[in-house]
Amino acid sequence: MSGPSLTDDLAGEIRTRYRAYAQKFIAPKAAEADRCGRLDPEVVDALRCEGFLGAPMAQEYGGLGMDMVSYGLLNAEIGRTCSSCRTLLTVHNLVGLTLQRWGNPFIRREVLPDLSAGRKVAAIAMSESPAGSDISSMRTMLSSNGATLRLEGQKAWTSFGLLADWFLVFAQSEDGPVAVLIPADSPGLARQPMTAVTGIRGNMLAELTFQNCPVEPQQIVGKPGFGFSHISTCALDHGRYSVAWGAVGVAEACLSETVRYLSERQQFGGRMIDLPLARASLSQMMVKSRAARQLCMAAGRLRAAKSPDALLETMVAKYFAAGAAAWIANAAVRLHGARGLSCDYAVERFLRDAKAMEIIEGGEEVLELLIAAQLTSEVLGD
């Protein structure tokens, strides 16, 4: 489905459809993904069969060509049930959309069709142990040895690094920062699992090591020198949009779980939901959740219209939605009392996932720097 925007009625219908899909195929395996640290292959197949791996990618490459608002709604409904599964959508599609924007003819011909149809999975390899938000300090290096290009270095925190068939890897080079597309079976590439993380535990994190890994010029995405400024910015922008909507899903799931729990829980001679303090908390949770959804919807409509303002509004949406989800999940755990700390209650997982979402794709402080710079430009540039 393409087009600049959706009516509210149609968005509501799509949301209902995605919710039913997520409840049927994703929700039953969500707690297991968290517990086992991996997504069940049946869940990945369920995404693939529906075309959701590659949902926003163009139909000419075999994607669904889903408009940006629908794609956001999909992220919210999948994120509502399982943040690990939503993360697969995030990383796969952020790579796919970045290649669709900046990929050369070889990549468009040989890689994009497989990614768009979900036959292959892609992940992004950006963070390094010494280089997180400060990507300019990364040490992974693409160097030329005669006619051959070689990649050397280590990447950490690569979501779905254990599953991916292709990696969009960022590195330094003689000509400046560069992005290269590396197949998982490339000689010199080794991957190790990273475990014992707090949240989004099913995202099959890996540490990648590149040792004398051969790279053909056609594997370079964009041009050397533009790796950080254009390729990574484009990729992170798509990632933020997906995470922002995923945070909306977590926030709304926390609200539903908490309302159900408080409706059944009897304390002080009545239902907890009738206690004024519980109602006050629920109201605050709901208002934050609704505001997050509205910001994501606004960003989605700007993206659908290809507005230059979409970059900033996506950052604003991610900043608010991730913060709201963490706040709401924290309140949900508190209102559940001791049960909120038990893995038998989903809010315990939601809180851990929400904390991770505050950090990934631009932490709060990093986004504050960028948003404030944009505000300055807007006010003083007029």
Binding site: S229, H230, D237, K306, P308, L370, S377, E378, G381, D382
Partner: protein
């Protein structure tokens, strides 16, 4: 079709807004000035695309195309010629 002078004025206005400055030397290298971060670099492309209704392709990613207002003007004019039906 807008003239070169008009195109340059449009780009200059766009850049003074983005850089939040009152005026800009059209030949000044914006990358050497250090004021262009990665977000701004992508915004420049997005705004040029919107302003002049074309798409910046992978092969257009050359520093020289975006280094100054004057170079962006040259680039926009070249893209216009390329998208002209007679050119194909």
């Amino acid at each position: 079709m807008t003239s070169r002078a008009e195109t340059q004025i449009m780009i200059e206005r766009m850049m003074t807004q983005l850089l939040a400055c009152g005026s800009l030397d059209v030949d000044a290298d914006i990358f050497e000035s250090g004021v262009v971060n990665s977000l701004l670099a992508l915004q420049i492309i997005n705004r040029l695309e919107r302003l002049f209704n074309f798409e910046v392709d992978e092969e257009d990613l050359e520093r020289n195309n975006f280094a100054s207002v004057a170079k962006m003007t040259d680039f926009v004019l070249r893209k216009r010629v390329q998208s002209c039906p007679d050119h194909r």
